[in-house]
């Protein structure tokens, strides 16, 4: 019981032992010091004159951006179609690649626990921890700018995400069904098709729609680095400071994000 003595000899209860209290205090001190140091670095790298001027600049940009240049939409249909293609085809490609990775990564279906499983987990971690914009940069350097680089970038980025969720679903399946199918004398592939796949199909559908929704968001900005889609128009409008076009594009992106989220919520609601 943490008790301390007051000056007049009475005992007083306190929440923690002195050592614990000191340790916590030190932790907070170090934490605050780190934060202050970080803030100083940011502050040192900032031109504060621009920041003081920021409300004026923001107002200026807003004034230039309004109203959006609606007529510009005629040039945007094709990029919007490209964006949709990048997201959808990228998701499909990712799913095709993620399914085998997921089966290799799940403890109950992996062919080899000590060799293939770590490899599959490495694929999952490394594709997940690098943003699709970086994948796009890399792919543009390799296969040239365009929609195809965007599709591949989205696909690679999504493998880790889909495979991770899918292998968790595979690990959670009901084993008695698999055993029942095995008991009928089914081969390894038949067990897969009739024992495992029906159990993970709803999760699979949910994951794909969820990832498609995220991919719509990501594909709208891939064009900033040259990987096709509406981001390409955004970046060229920004480069020539055509703020009315920028505001129109941002509105469209916002609409696309809201729409895709609505679709994905509806579909997932219908499946689950």
């Amino acid at each position: 019981m943490p008790v301390s003595r007051l000056a007049d000899g009475r005992k007083a209860w306190q929440r923690r032992e002195r050592k614990q209290q000191l340790a916590r205090w030190a932790m907070w001190l170090v934490g605050t010091a780190i934060f202050v140091w970080c803030w100083q670095r940011i502050s040192g790298a900032t031109t504060w004159f621009f920041v003081l001027d920021a409300p004026h600049i923001a107002g200026d940009i807003l004034e230039r951006a309004m109203p959006p240049r609606w007529s510009y939409i005629s040039k945007l249909w094709w990029p919007i179609w490209d964006t949709l293609n990048i997201a959808t085809l990228g998701t499909l490609m990712a799913l095709v690649l993620a399914v085998p990775v997921a089966f290799m990564a799940a403890r109950n279906t992996t062919p080899s626990r000590y060799f293939i499983r770590p490899l599959a987990l490495l694929i999952i971690v490394s594709t997940r921890s690098i943003n699709s914009l970086i994948w796009a940069l890399l792919l543009i350097a390799i296969i040239g700018p365009g929609v195809f680089a965007g599709i591949v970038a989205i696909a690679i980025r999504s493998i880790g995400f889909c495979a991770k969720l899918l292998y968790e679903a595979i690990e959670e399946i009901d084993h008695s069904q698999v055993e029942a199918v095995t008991a009928t004398g089914a081969s390894r592939w038949q067990v897969m098709a009739y024992g495992i796949v029906p159990q993970i199909l709803p999760a699979f559908a949910g994951i794909s729609v969820f990832r498609w929704d995220i991919n719509i968001r990501e594909s709208t900005v891939l064009g900033l680095v040259g990987a096709g889609g509406i981001g390409l128009q955004l970046s060229s409008s920004l480069n020539v400071l055509a703020w009315p076009q920028v505001s129109l594009i941002l509105l469209i992106i916002l609409l696309a994000v809201v729409l895709s989220e609505w679709v994905s919520a509806k579909v997932r609601g219908a499946i689950i």
């Binding site: 934060f35 350097a141 296969i143 040239g144 195809f148 900033l224």
Partner: protein
């Protein structure tokens, strides 16, 4: 024997379809095929260029075996430090701001007007991607890590407040009511009735968000908002794949370390 059974007798068993309504199944199948044909046909792929690029792709993969940490050591160190600094500062500020907003966005705590305002902030933050926010903030505040810091803080608010609010909404009412019955004031009620219930999850989510913030900070440099992204972009542009590989290895290592640490901390608090 019932009619339903006799209907199936003598026929081989068929797997039940995933989508039960036949017309919907066919509609989706035909729609998917039409879309795929149109979509794939409209994607122009310069196979010649792709074929030429395969060498570079192989060179890049090979460069993962010989990453070059030294040639651009100063740039890499500066960039990574800036990314980490942005991550730490924006996570702290973002978490601090998202707590009151999360409280305000929980319907069982906040009055309706506050609820609407806080939900509005969350919706705004969630529907704008980091990179677009970063572009606008760079235009407003100028180049440098301040824009990145503000972007990440803003994104943290949307993520954390939403999950915190959902967590508060699904909390156990009886504990909160027991505190209320002792005659506590509103801050006491929050501190002793609500906070202990959501704290473990809040800590877990905050650490997860630190992880996301670091990953995002790696790309903000592409639009001039500070961090390692600028160095990475330069490395790709100059085809310095071994430097790029070194940076990517550092990013992956830090993300893996963060995931490991967050796993330990989450296991401890839950």
């Amino acid at each position: 024997m019932s009619d339903a059974l006799s209907l199936h007798l003598g026929k081989p068993w068929k797997k039940p379809p995933f989508i039960k309504r036949a017309w919907l199944r066919w509609l989706i199948a035909v729609g998917a095929i039409v879309y795929l044909v149109l979509g794939i046909a409209s994607v122009e792929v310069n196979w010649h260029r792709v074929y030429e690029g395969l060498d570079r792709g192989a060179a890049f993969i090979a460069s993962f075996l010989t990453p070059d940490f030294l040639t651009r050591a100063t740039d890499i160190r500066e960039g990574i430090t800036e990314s980490i600094v942005m991550t730490v500062a924006s996570s702290v500020v973002g978490i601090l701001i998202s707590i009151p907003i999360g409280l305000g966005a929980a319907r069982n705590i906040a009055p309706l007007p506050v609820y609407m305002i806080c939900r509005g902030i969350i919706a705004l933050s969630r529907s704008l991607q980091e990179i677009i926010v970063a572009i606008l903030l760079v235009a407003i505040f100028g180049f440098g890590p301040l824009a990145g810091f503000l972007t990440l803080s803003f994104a943290t608010i949307g993520f954390l407040s939403k999950l915190l609010a959902e967590n508060i909404e699904s909390m156990d009412r009886s504990q909160a009511e027991a505190i209320r019955a002792t005659g506590s004031s509103w801050p006491q009620w929050i501190n002793y009735g609500v906070q202990p219930q959501v704290m473990p999850r809040l800590i877990g989510l905050s650490i997860y968000r630190v992880d996301i913030n670091f990953r995002e900070s790696a790309i903000l440099g592409l639009v001039g908002a500070g961090g390692i992204g600028a160095t990475l972009n330069t490395a790709f542009d100059r085809y310095e794949f071994d430097t790029a590989a070194a940076i990517l290895i550092i990013i992956i290592a830090i993300v893996m370390a963060l995931e490991y640490v967050s796993g330990i901390i989450r296991a401890r608090v839950q």
